[in-house]
Symmetry: C2
Subunit: 633 residues, 2 copies
């Protein structure tokens, strides 16, 4: 199979070569395998999403295939395939094969494959790319096919999707008789890059590049298309093509805007293409990265504060209680940050990846794997609660595919050796620069503490072991076989250059104190507030642990805080405990407002838990950012 | 004309006997007369609302009379009538008469009068009281008729509305052949009490009492009605009849809930009936009053924080930036508080009336009278801006009728004399207990300062002049003809008992310092924040007056604040000036979050303006509640 040149600084080690046996992640992976995937299969089956591929829908049948449905099934196939690669399961495999055959069976003679536009509105094919997710669904089907092929070796979906992609390549383009269009919801672009990767066919990468290059060009395709439908383009409900990052050519994008998930998928694809030779995309990517990470990102790695556009608003507009922060957007940021990390090799991208992964992405899934958040606010009055499924069900299977492929985010190879980007206990089968195999065994209780033991198992050879020093870490120590060493420090990592011997043991000790984080002064919502963070985990307080409303708590600057591992709480988590203050309400008789006096407060025991574990007991109040004063005494 | 006994402690002096010539209010009244009323007439005309009364709509005509439309026109007639009573205007009078004739001309032979259900859905009359505002529109037409009669003496609308009310009294009730229904949007109840008042016909009061008594009874009328429409009552979009205060009989209501305007109109009517002999309504009214004023009221007198139900949520849930706080709800609170004040004579009700009137109600109207807020948040990132009209146009004419009838809220008569409830410069023609006339002249710059001079002009007689001491006032002084006196203090007022001589001059001096207000500790949104208030006016800061985002400002507890009257600003307002602090962002290089350090801040000049005057310059940021620290130095 030919390979397409990639100018990555790092090359990701695929999840298929990584085994995770980790205090933090193994329960998540198990819940994903044992509960999430079966439940989502049932939802897809019971709502008619699987039957939709039979194309037998008739007017009057209530289970009309919705324009999103194919993508939900595709993401389940992708997630299930990842799981099968690591945890063979005959029953799951049979389900996946059945679904793959159903999907492939819905393909039309010309290669087209979409249940809604085949069974429900066959005369409307490609009539509304702006709103109707047709190429988005194609993209998810392609990602499913790639995952299915990688995990099982089966070509049943992959061949079908190559035919579909070839057909799409005929329909779309700037040539004579082609439609100069692209999808309102980006996704197919990154999927086509993946398809190019597994097939070695550059035409799929080129089709992705076409979709990227054509986006936002004038005359505007969405205008032309709307007129062709008999609509006035000015009646577009979102008012601006910035909603779908199509207000200008992508190389001219200056700020992140619009629907957050769409933006993340677009930037991911742009990064893929930048890594495959298109240097002209880099300036925009750098601008967009700075814009989102310096002005538009929640501490949790959540993003897109507004429900209105499921996306971005103004700089520093990061309200906590109304934060939309869709689970899929944090997952999309993981995708993008991982691609930027590989492209550049700079661990500052891994810092953002880790923040989103450990907080705002997995907060979307309950610990039992059976219920999900669509929105991930940073404060709740008590009504926000996970659900088993959604009519618009993008988030649950997106979380499933992320968690099932976790191992793929941990390690990378590079020209001079290997690099560990995230720390989770387990084993990785790596390849050294000279092609020799390396087995790296990692033992750690991360993120509950910062001690990581890495054992090298390879033939004696000289290469460099690069270990990421997380951005949150302000002090670290490293030894090799018990002896202190002075590694090279570069781009957020330390490099241990040596001739490694089998059994060499590296101990990395990352100091992991409790940090009181503050937000940039322009973040109005966090004014006068701090959030607790320890290691990669952002903490929150829940109503269930406190005798008063958590929104009344004040955390004085001099409050003593300590960490305790609570093995029986939430599957075992490190809690942060201390003494907060609560304003005394006893003097408030018969008034809601009064002239301000010196605050009078009482002590109250504070218990903070990891944000990613909230809402796993009774639904109730939650807050990430705590007022710091004036508390009074 | 017979009169219906009313057990009011106070009897309001109607606006027709009050002349307002006031620094604060006269420009508002003039803008209402010269801009608001003409503009709203044009909107009603140009949108087809006036033509709708011709009942000539045909399918296909785009200007289909909407179920709300009659109420918009009715409120305009009511407001215009109030204005005519005080400021004769031949052109306006001609418009009012024309509209009155148009309305009356739409009456059906049986007395029914509703443009939508006559012209558009004649077969659907009374089919959906829950959602379709049919009796609500009738109520506003009745209020218009009463105002029109009072202002002009014309019976053209009054007679038509008596016929309509008589017809409604035949249709609705618990008797054989009657519909045991009531309106989903309360309004007709208080209107019928007004109609009873001007006609002396007790049957209209009894019909109001029927609607109140029947509300929320089982079997539930809205269930029955939904089933009759072929619908499942469980499919009610609002999920609960608490949305329209019909989840239980009104005497069992324990907490304010649901749509805020509806709630205020219901409670107003309940108070009307309590004042007319139904003591069984009082316990619920007392509970509801305490609930809203102690747990659910913004500092501005705004209420109903949620956009979702245009209404109430949980206790102490008073978010600032997302506050819905509909203009109509604050106006409804003015109506209710005025009725409670009259019923009880206790000035604590006037305190709430004044808070809502001077802040959250008139904030709904621009100073030029030409644009309106539907929502009145207490913080804005800059996008909230008044508009000239709304598809759902309840607020603009509601504000117009409130402002046009302002004089009616100032004075009251009582068994032992007269009482001044609100202070505005002008003249009132009152009647003393013995029937003798009294002219009271008031000179003041209130609310810009707290000095009020009242001159008595009446034949020598012994009676008591009661002057309200506002709840916000912590020190006051009163003299009669320059001599200090020691008045009786009772129920929030001071009573000056004496044998008054013509020309007696009373000087009341209300200390009006700048107050830093704080909210109850359970109001999470205002945690660690203060708001500035001076006299009845709540202040806010606007972006246009500050070099940094107002959401970054911190107001330390020891900040010196001073008042300055700025004659050229916003038509002349007292501004509060001082030194705030702004956190120093210069150390924030390339990060959005960091471990919290000692805060470093810089001074910044603070200028606060009355909340009721915000958004009268360029649209921009606004905040009522300011962080108090930690500010650093």
């Amino acid at each position: 199979m030919p390979t397409i040149p990639v100018t990555h600084a790092l090359r990701a080690v695929p999840f298929t070569q990584v085994t995770v046996d980790d205090l933090f992640w193994t329960p998540r992976l198990r819940a994903n395998r044992e509960h999430t995937l079966p439940a989502q299969y049932r939802h897809c089956r019971d709502t008619g999403r699987l039957d939709a591929f039979a194309l037998a829908w008739q007017p009057g049948d209530p289970r009309e295939p919705h324009i999103f449905w194919d993508s939900d099934v595709a993401k389940w196939v992708e997630a299930a395939s990842y799981s099968l690669a690591e945890y063979p399961d005959a029953a799951l495999q049979a389900q996946v094969e059945d679904v793959a055959v159903r999907i492939a069976g819905a393909q039309q003679a010309d290669g087209y494959l979409n249940t809604h536009y085949t069974a429900v509105e066959p005369d409307k094919r490609w009539s509304n790319l702006r709103d109707c997710h047709e190429l988005y669904c194609a993209g998810h089907l392609i990602e499913a096919a790639v995952a299915h092929f990688q995990a099982t070796g089966s070509r049943v979906l992959l061949d079908a999707m190559c035919r579909y992609a070839d057909y799409i390549g005929i329909v779309f383009g700037t040539g004579a008789g082609q439609r100069p269009g692209y999808c309102g919801h980006e996704e197919i672009e990154l999927a086509l890059v993946k398809l190019a990767g597994v097939t070695g066919e550059t035409r799929y990468r080129d089709l992705a590049a076409y979709f990227i290059d054509q986006r936002g060009q004038q005359p505007h395709y969405f205008d032309t298309e709307a007129v062709a439908r008999g609509e006035n383009p000015a009646d577009y409900w979102a008012k601006t093509y910035a909603y779908c990052q199509a207000d200008r050519p992508v190389r001219e994008l200056a700020t992140v805007a619009g629907h957050a998930v769409r933006a993340m998928y677009l930037y991911s694809a742009m990064t893929d293409l930048a890594a495959r030779g298109d240097a002209t995309l880099r300036p925009a990517l750098d601008r967009l990265w700075d814009d989102v990470t310096l002005k538009k990102l929640y501490l949790t790695g959540g993003l897109g504060p507004s429900r209105h556009n499921e996306g971005f608003t103004a700089d520093y507009d990061l309200p906590n209680d109304t934060a939309y922060a869709e689970t899929c957007a944090a997952i999309g940021l993981v995708f993008w940050a991982h691609r930027m990390l590989l492209l550049e090799g700079d661990c500052r991208y891994a810092d953002v990846l880790e923040r989103a992964l450990y907080n705002g992405a997995i907060s979307g899934v309950s610990l039992d794997g059976e219920s999900f958040f669509y929105e991930n606010p940073l404060a709740s009055a008590g009504a926000h609660h996970r659900q088993g499924w959604f009519d618009c069900a993008c988030c649950p299977p997106n979380a499933a595919r992320l968690i099932a492929s976790l191992g793929g985010y941990l390690y990378a190879t590079r020209a001079d050796g290997v690099q560990v980007n995230l720390y989770a206990a387990g084993t990785a089968a790596l390849t050294l620069p000279d092609g020799a195999p390396l087995t790296l065994r990692v033992a750690t209780r991360y993120p509950w503490d910062g001690q990581i033991t890495l054992t090298v198992d390879a033939a004696p050879a000289a290469w460099t072991l690069w270990l990421r020093i997380p951005g949150w870490c302000r002090a670290w120590r490293v030894t090799v076989n018990g002896e202190a060493v002075a590694p090279e420090e570069a781009r957020g990592a330390i490099g241990l250059h040596r001739t490694w011997q089998p059994g060499d043991v590296v101990l990395l000790d990352l100091a992991m104190p409790i940090e009181r984080m503050e937000a940039h002064p322009r973040v109005a919502a966090d004014h006068g507030r701090v959030a607790l963070q320890r290691g990669p985990l952002v903490y929150c307080v829940e109503g269930i642990d406190h005798p008063v409303s958590v929104h009344q708590l004040t955390l004085p600057a001099d409050a003593t805080l300590s960490v305790r591992f609570a093995p029986d709480l939430l599957g075992g988590v490190a809690v942060i405990e201390g003494e907060a203050r609560v304003l005394d309400a006893s003097g408030w008789t018969h008034t809601l407002y009064r002239p301000a006096g010196a605050p009078v407060s009482q002590p109250v025991a504070l218990t903070a838990i990891p944000y990613c574990c909230w809402d796993n007991r009774a639904p109730g109040e939650m807050a990430v950012w705590l007022a710091t004063g004036p508390a009074g005494r």
